[in-house]
């Protein structure tokens, strides 16, 4: 897979309650009654899902920030966003 060409743009719902507490994103899903607490990498991915950057751009940023090989960062980010999409927390544009 060419990680530089994934132009999908992850976008978190503007009405999903969440806060960064002690360096970790806490996300509430009201109707489902679920609360998610993300690790530091997940927190950065969540914050970066702002509807402006492509998955490829976000993965490149994560790769640099967390000193992770580009391929691995892309794979992890794609998998993470896929899970969030299944949970209804983000959508791809």
């Amino acid at each position: 897979m060419d990680t530089k060409k994934d132009a999908r743009v992850p976008n978190r719902s503007s009405h999903t309650p969440w806060r960064r507490i002690d360096g970790r994103a806490v996300i509430v899903q009201p109707i489902a009654g679920r609360v998610h607490e993300l690790n530091p990498v997940g927190t950065r991915l969540w914050e970066n899902a702002d509807g402006k950057r492509t998955l490829a751009e976000i993965a490149a940023e994560i790769s640099g920030e967390f000193a992770t090989p580009a391929e691995e960062a892309f794979g992890d980010a794609a998998e993470f966003y896929s899970e969030l999409e299944k949970l209804g927390l983000i959508e791809f544009r």
Binding site: S14, H15, T16, P17, W18, R19, R20, I21, D22, V26, V28, P30, I31, G33, V35, H36, E37
Partner: protein, 363 residues
Amino acid sequence: MSILDRLRTRSAELLVPFQATIELTYRCNERCGHCYLATYDDHADGRVPLSREEWKRVLDQLAEAGTLVLIFIGGEAMLHPDFWELAEYGASRGFALSLITNGLLIDDRAADRLAAMRFYQVSISLYSLDPAIHDRMTRRKGSHARTLGAVERLRARGLEVIVNCLLTSANIDSCFELEDWAKARGVRVQFDPMVTPKSDSSLDPTLLRASREQLYRYYRELKRRGRPAGPAVAEPGPGFADEPVCNAGRGKCAVTAHGDLLTCLEVREVLGNFREAGFAELWGSPTAERIRGLRNRDLAFDSACGDGAFCDHCPGMAASETGDSRSEVPFLMELARIKRAVFSADGFEERLHPEERPVESSL
């Protein structure tokens, strides 16, 4: 421990107001004798309630400070003319919305809107399954039917509903019928025997508290149903003396209809007003530091006695009832002793002075 409970603990350590309760209005469409509010008038004493735009600026600051759970309360919060707009604004600022209401204004349309805004939780005050008891407590004829209807409407829309049932001498004897009804509908009930003084320290509501005999019967039935005496409280450990007495001004705060910032709904000592200073300044004020600095060792009684695991000291209640937030509250001490007598297996009940033992009713 759930994620939310863990976050509450961590937020308290970080002094992040994880939960903020906002008294949107003091207007109410019920007249409960046990209510903690001293007035139903937003303009009492010549004070001016916050405008819609002022509330929005307060919400902005709470969001900035890290508040996640935003609880709307009144009076009846839904009577505020800007309730829906402020709820929508709160949702857009990333709060998990919660509402404490009597449900009288929740018709089908309102239930649809609450569901559409994805309220995290709606707590409804319901005092009995018996309409006569409920309506007598709310002093509003027909309120029981409307409140029951609200519970059903919200459940039908998948919202999490909690029935808040304050226990007084009028309803405690029939409270478990309400629990059975709620359980059959997948609704959680929270019983609370702690009737507090009014916000102006009037003790009138405390006259409605359940009697010792009633409380014994209540806790015995609770135990028979396999339920705990209350939220799990650890036995006082070695560091107990240095632990904060409560979460006030640490992981939670409250804002009055006039913009006063409080450390908690029960502690009515004002930190300052949002019209005069921003949240950060008020939260860091000497008054806030003093309230959150209260430790178990500062209390004027031995809170680590044998009743410790059953004792809930509330500085706000103590201040109202005794004039000193550090003093023991006789009612809370009695509750602790009753809970210990019923729930602990240390033979405590047999050691109680005869006057403190329950008098069994033959009724």
